[in-house]
């Protein structure tokens, strides 16, 4: 890892020595740090996708929350487009908010049940108080782009299926034309067919808006299929990075080997049966 202070130019996202500790436990229990993130470094070049893979509880979603400043990291730097936003106050952070968006794991919970589809999607515009007049057309355009019919705009969230809510969350994230989208397990928990549809949608959107993705997932198969580079996270540290091919073919670190092994078993079982398939 090069550690020059020079501001990395082509890297749109560069994280250096990121640390974050939680103190879990109540007053009469001694405080125990949990899913600490210590000394994490990675970079993503514009228009590409980096996947953070790790077992549950390895601190990968904490990293995501620190990068998008939903939570303030204890120390370290997060360079977005050439500025370190790790220590910015929330007011100076405002311009960066539109460039950096996060999509949460379970889409249903990340939307206020009282809202209609339009209210959910236009919320970013409301907050940033932008384009007041053509808010409705922008919502219709984006809903169309993510594959939802705009005339469902005024239906309440309850009437949408899991897959459709995921699409709505994506539409909301793209409302401010972000450059970087962080997907925190955005595809886990979906049926295979819906998962495939959302994955294709992500690829199309990346190509159409030249987006940079930071994908957080525990499913190696999905990650290697969607991401250019993969970083393996274990107990809050990045233990290995490489392109999807490198990771799949020659895993170096023990954790990666374990992940790849369990992925391989499933693969070989399927492949052996279907070797003669068309």
């Amino acid at each position: 890892m090069k550690n020059d202070q020079r501001m990395p130019t082509d890297r749109i996202v560069s994280v250096k020595r990121l640390c974050k500790r939680y103190l879990r436990g109540s007053v009469w229990r001694k405080r125990v740090p949990v899913n600490a993130v210590n000394d994490v470094e990675f970079e993503i070049t514009a228009g590409r996708t980096l996947a953070l893979i790790g077992r549950s509880g390895s601190g990968k979603s904490t990293i995501a929350r620190c990068v998008t400043r939903i939570e303030k990291p204890d120390s370290g730097q997060v360079w977005i487009d050439g500025t370190d936003i790790a220590s910015l106050s929330s007011r100076d952070l405002l311009p960066f908010r539109s460039r950096l968006q996060m999509v949460f794991q379970d889409a249903e919970l990340s939307m206020n049940p009282r809202f209609s589809a339009r209210e959910v999607t236009e919320e970013p515009l409301l907050i940033q108080a932008r384009h007041a007049e053509e808010r409705r057309d922008r919502v219709a355009a984006l809903m169309e782009e993510v594959g939802l019919s705009p005339d469902w705009m005024d239906r309440r969230i309850m009437h949408f299926s899991g897959g459709q809510r995921h699409r709505l969350a994506l539409a909301r994230a793209l409302m401010l034309q972000p450059k970087i989208v962080v997907l925190d397990e955005a595809l886990s928990g979906l049926d295979l067919s819906t998962q495939a549809q959302i994955a294709n949608l992500l690829l199309d959107l990346q190509r159409a808006h030249s987006l940079t993705y930071l994908l957080i997932s525990h499913d190696l198969a999905l990650a290697t299929r969607l991401a250019d580079e993969v970083a393996v996270v274990s107990d809050g540290q990045i233990v290995e990075t490489g392109t999807s091919k490198q990771i799949l073919t020659q895993p170096v670190h023990a954790e990666t080997a374990k992940l790849v092994a369990s992925h391989k078993i499933k693969e070989t079982k399927l492949a052996s049966i279907m070797s003669t398939a068309q």
Binding site: S193, A196, D219, D228, I273
Partner: protein
């Protein structure tokens, strides 16, 4: 024919579903959310919610029909003849009772053993599901265990009275990749030792590949294809199965678009006459819209209900 109504208006959760599981055989049910696979599992256990009614057919366990059994005698069957591994292990253990006691409870309900023998049996079970030092686990409380460990405890509970059929409802959906492998090995290991029949319900064909004997594919409350695992995965007949299998086969070249099924899941409330997959089917024919395809057997012990194979 099990025909269950649920919620506002009539929702045909299960429609004309018939399935045979021989003793010691493992059958996988493959279906996406809303295909009625969980309802089938609940129906077998007679655990359907209050607003669901079975309007026909029967459920035979060692040729005793469950539907005819009165409610009071049911608890002799549940846990003894059929046991269920719940979908979300994190929630399915009582937070205020030690793990050992919860397994003890199941034994107490069915097996006539002295309390000492029961304790020994509990430790045996815990060792069998892969805990190195079962004594520590037995005295622990559920909130002190990890997700994977809790899953293994629920499995131990299910197999405690050597039931003739164990139903595993989405055993791997809540776990991450590595734990999924361990759970599958555990389940197939149990099947060999206890000679119990296993009904595994999942939406991912990868989970079933390699260890499940037969697969039944469900779509919108109906079984659309049944057959030996290898043959079904190698040469799926029904277009829906073909698409599902194609999806599961992950090709290594990345960043390419994945094959998908167009349209989205069927709406359970609308009762269309024709084949429910017709709107999303690439080989949809006129006939499909009008009538529901009857079951045909293009190959030995393979069944599919699609007009493509109907003579």
């Amino acid at each position: 024919m099990i025909y269950a109504l649920k919620g506002a208006g009539q929702v045909h959760a299960l429609d004309n579903v018939s399935l045979q599981i021989d003793s010691g055989e493992t059958v996988g049910i493959l279906g996406e959310s809303g295909s009625g696979k969980t309802t089938l599992a609940k129906a077998i256990m007679r655990m359907l919610p209050a607003n669901a009614t079975c309007s026909g057919g029967e459920i035979l366990i060692d040729n005793r029909d469950l539907l005819k059994l009165p409610e009071t005698e049911l608890h002799t069957i549940r846990g003894r003849a059929i046991a269920m591994i719940p979908q979300d292990p994190a929630l399915c253990l009582n937070p205020v009772i030690t793990v050992g006691c919860q397994i003890l409870e199941v034994l107490r309900a069915h097996v006539l053993l002295s309390s000492k023998a029961r304790k020994v049996r509990v430790l045996e079970l815990l060792r069998e599901v892969g805990f190195e030092h079962p004594a520590k686990i037995a005295s622990a409380y559920p909130h002190q265990l990890s997700g994977g460990q809790r899953q293994r405890v629920t499995i131990a509970q299910a197999i405690s009275c050597c039931p003739s059929l164990v139903i595993a409802d989405e055993p791997t959906s809540k776990l991450d990749a590595t734990l999924e492998g361990e759970t599958i090995d555990l389940l197939s290991g149990i099947r060999r030792q206890h000679r119990t029949a296993l009904l595994v319900i999942t939406h991912d064909p990868g989970v079933l590949a390699g260890w499940v004997d037969r697969i039944a594919v469900m779509y919108a409350g109906r079984i659309i294809e049944i057959g030996d695992t290898k043959q079904v995965l190698r040469k799926p007949f029904h277009p829906y199965t073909q698409a599902l299998v194609q999806l599961a086969r992950s090709s290594d070249h990345n960043k390419t678009r994945l094959p998908t099924i167009k349209g989205n899941a069927p709406n359970p409330t609308d009762v269309s006459v024709g084949c429910r997959f017709e709107p999303r089917c690439s080989e949809g024919m006129e006939r499909c819209k009008v009538a529901y395809p009857t079951v045909s057997a293009p190959e030995s012990d393979r069944q599919v209900s699609c007009f493509k194979y109907e003579k």
